[in-house]
Symmetry: C2
DNA sequence: CGCTATCCCGACCGCGCTGGTAGGATTACC
DNA sequence: GGTAATCCTACCAGCGCGGTCGGGATAGCG
């Protein structure tokens, strides 16, 4: 398992903010209802997004959250990083964070033969980071709204078994 | 954290088999000593590699393990898959295994708006799988043996603090 | 002014998995 | 037969994840 539900819920939350809240703030309750996610848990998740300055909040009645930037300017690497804390493929990748999310291997006992696995994990990490960076929130929102109208219809078009 | 220590230890084990055991089988004890890993734990890990037919075993005294194929023919996707069981980026990616390691998303309540996150996680998964498939065991063995001879030397070249 | 909807924050908690150990059975070389 | 090794199963502590609870602060509204 690469990512936890924090990433899943957090991304879904951002998508919902992008879909519902063009102007007015969207309450967590609305998101919780739309996506069928536990409200109390969402509160903790959205806190991570706020700390990363990906969303802004309005307190009080009729308050809620809205995206801090345009969906086109929100890349998934930043999002997942904010939600998961770090993106180290292995435990030995200590959270250096000198650059941004890029972490380095620090084995306890590199005595002699430095870890060749480092080469492998680094490749994986860089690849994942690149994949995430290449996907923007706008893309996901677009993908979802285009699948919304008639899901059985599209399934038949693509010659797939219709979902139950 | 993407991968557990199973993957780390398993890969290191394979590397050690490739380095030490060109002809004769290598005992787990030897690997355990060389890599400083718990022997009993290695036993359970190597069992996974054997079930995946990546290593072969010889029982009895002077027995041990050897690679089932040439290092050039062992790609990391197969290795990591054997060690970790699956490579699903999210919990909702159920282990279909129709193709090979490729898994599909099956959300509980896709009611209406199918998960757009699926798009994201699929991209990540495919990317990781590709990265792993592009790295062979031979490459890692080569990488390590080339770093072996004088590690202090290389550290000084790169203007880094020498390891303790 | 008080009510209520909302954000905010910290404490708490059960469960499953990871990493690791223990102990023994089996096999084969000498 | 001793011994070095693979094999197998059960066991266990720690920890992080997913989730809840209770309460405090804050702002619109009648």
């Amino acid at each position: 398992m690469f990512f936890t539900t924090k990433a899943e819920y957090g991304v879904r939350l951002l998508i919902e903010l992008g879909r519902q809240g063009t102007d007015h703030p969207v309450s967590l309750k609305a998101v919780s209802d739309a996506e069928n996610l536990p409200l109390a848990y969402l509160e903790r998740i959205v806190a991570l997004l706020k700390r990363a300055e990906l969303v802004e909040s309005t307190r009080g009645a009729h308050g809620g959250y809205r995206l801090a930037r345009a969906p086109e300017d929100i890349a998934m690497d930043e999002v997942v990083l904010a939600l998961e804390g770090s993106l180290a493929p292995m435990e030995c990748f200590v959270d250096d964070r000198s650059d941004d999310g890029r972490v380095l291997c620090s084995h306890h006992d590199d005595s002699g033969h430095g870890c060749a696995t480092k080469l492998l994990w680094t490749r994986v990490q860089v690849g994942v980071l690149k994949t995430l960076a290449d996907t923007t929130l706008a893309e996901l929102i677009d993908f979802q709204t285009r699948q919304l109208p008639r899901i059985g219809e599209r399934a038949r078009e693509q010659n797939l078994p219709a979902p139950a």
